[in-house]
């Protein structure tokens, strides 16, 4: 079973960096930008997405044999919409303040291409176990991306992180960061940074390989 455990692990971590849904696949942009003006909102949105993705992946993988191909998309959407409604009401009941901030963007999780994409591309073709692993990994990557963006925007835009003041009140906030343009610009620059890191890493790996070749 070592192999299978390895695979579990692979499915889990690929979403965080290598196939990160936001930074690499550029999916799920709408919630990504709209709600990341603070880290709290970003995490809440990420968690709601995680709940929906894992739940629907589990169901889709479980029932994949019973879902005829012709209507699979409709079924996926019904499943996803159900989970989103559940998440919406739960959040509204439990943390109304956060729900007020996220507002209309919770229902919009339905339209997040990443979720439907995972059902179509992965959950409907793999075992329940792998599907859940994949969903967890992808969601983790999504949460990571949301958090990165939310944290950057909150720190620069409000001088705080998770509402905790970081600069003792003496910070001049960069208001653009919590405004829409800040969302676009920050994500653009983060993607640039991501490209740059990947690029540097490739160069580094190439150099290592070269050194090994010449060394041996």
């Amino acid at each position: 079973m070592i192999e299978s455990e390895n695979q579990d692990y692979n499915e889990l971590i690929k979403g965080i960096w290598r196939d990160n849904p936001v930074f690499v696949q550029v999916l799920g942009m709408c919630p990504m930008l709209a709600v990341t003006n603070s880290a709290i909102n970003a995490i809440a949105m990420g968690m709601a997405t995680l709940f929906v993705l894992v739940g629907s992946s589990f169901l889709v993988a479980t029932f994949k044999k019973w879902i005829p191909k012709q209507i699979r998309i409709s079924c996926f959407i019904i499943i996803i919409a159900t989970f989103v409604t559940v998440a919406d009401y739960t959040l509204l009941a439990l943390i109304p303040t956060v729900h007020k901030e996220l507002g209309a963007f919770i229902p919009l999780i339905v339209a997040n291409c990443m979720i439907l994409g995972r059902q179509e591309a992965f959950a409907s073709k793999n075992t329940v176990r792998l599907a859940v692993m994949d969903a967890l990994g992808m969601s983790a990557g999504f949460v990571f991306a949301l958090f990165t963006l939310g944290a950057v925007r909150e720190i620069l835009g409000s001088g705080s992180l998770f509402g905790v003041d970081l600069f003792g009140g003496a910070f001049e906030p960069w208001i653009i960061m919590i405004l829409p343009p800040g969302g676009f610009l920050t994500l653009g620059l983060i993607l640039f940074f991501f490209n740059w890191v990947t690029h540097r890493r490739e160069i580094f790996l190439e150099r290592v390989a070269e050194a090994e070749r010449s060394g041996s």
Binding site: I175, M177, P181
Partner: protein, 338 residues
């Protein structure tokens, strides 16, 4: 006679040049800005000088840091980074902390120019990208103005604020003529606008000197006269028309032209060749668009001033304008493109 065949060059025609070069155009614009800059420094004192210098420094350092090595020499030589820094500096309020001006210069070159691939490739005016960023980022500091009549050596503490810390603008605050009109229904006399003894951005207050620079550029043929003419005429006509409805409420045509950053933006920024249309018809459309947006934002919008946004919006529309205003090619009938 020397046998020079192997040394013969094989460059292609044409061998004659009109004589203008891109750096000479930049230098001309810099020269044209000198009177307005000096007037700004005269009215707003040493603090204004520091703000302009910080902005130029931010722009030039960013340029040096990011432009690839093989392009470095020429892009520093062409003086465009310096010009961007200066133009941005002239649109800033005199009491702005220097670090903000520096960041503005850096953003202007970084987001406005470097990521597009350097001079000639950007689609938005870099100085205005820098200013829009600053205005959205530090809205209070960017809209707190000081009076123009303090002594030259008045140091404003806010100019020296420690970077990233909370800013309280210092000095006698005052409203710009446009702000006075919009929020207090007070009309500033035209002579003040003409001479520049009003509150406002460092380089925008003196209509006379700005026009002087424009005339210089016109005679040096560095300026597409259609753009300033179409903007100013549109503004005049539309404020005239609005005035017919309610002369009390809407600004008078000449006031509209001489107040705020309209002249600075019109003469030096809207005419930025890189970000304005290349086709003659396109430049008219561009100018009329800027003029309409200026009046729309100033009169009906939430802010007293809208020149910067108008130019940026028309910059965004420039690729479309250029595309749909290609002149009729000689010998082609209208309508068939090939």
């Amino acid at each position: 006679m020397k046998q020079r065949d192997p040394e013969l060059l094989l460059q292609h025609a044409p061998f004659l040049r009109e004589g203008k070069t891109t750096p000479s155009v930049m230098v001309d614009v810099l020269i044209a800005l000198v009177p307005a800059t000096l007037a700004g420094l005269w009215y707003f004192g040493i603090g204004a000088f520091l703000v302009v210098m910080a902005s130029i420094l931010g722009a030039v350092l960013t340029e040096v840091a990011f432009i690839s090595k093989q392009h470095r020499g020429e892009s520093l030589l062409d003086g465009s980074g310096l010009l961007t820094g200066l133009l941005l500096g002239l649109t800033l309020p005199p009491a702005l902390p220097m670090w903000m001006a520096f960041i503005g210069g850096a953003v202007a070159i970084g987001l406005g120019k470097v990521i597009w691939g350097g001079l000639g490739n950007n689609l938005f005016n870099p100085a205005l990208v820098g200013r829009a960023f600053l205005l959205a980022t530090f809205p209070i500091a960017m809209t707190t103005w000081t009076t123009a009549d303090e002594s030259f050596w008045t140091f404003r503490a806010s100019n020296f604020d420690i970077p990233f810390t909370y800013t309280e603008i210092d000095g006698v605050t005052a409203a710009t003529p446009l702000g006075l009109l919009k929020f207090d229904q007070e009309v500033t006399p035209l002579s003040d606008l003409f001479m520049g003894t009003t509150a406002g951005s460092i380089g925008e207050t003196s209509g006379l000197l700005l026009i002087l620079g424009g005339v210089y550029l016109f005679f040096r043929r560095d300026l597409d006269w259609r753009i300033p003419v179409s903007i100013l005429v549109t503004v005049l006509i539309f404020s005239g028309i609005l005035g017919l409805f309610d002369a009390e409420r809407f600004p008078a045509p000449l006031f509209s032209v001489f107040s705020g950053g309209l002249l600075l933006g019109t003469i030096y920024m809207a005419t930025d060749p890189v970000t304005s249309p290349t086709t003659p018809l396109g430049t008219w459309i561009f100018g009329i668009g800027v003029g309409l947006l200026v009046i729309l934002i100033r009169v009906f919008g939430g802010m007293p001033e809208g020149v910067m946004y108008s130019i940026l919006l028309m910059n965004a529309a420039t690729p479309l304008i250029d595309r749909f205003t290609q002149p009729r090619v000689f010998g082609h009938l209208r309508g068939d493109r090939d």
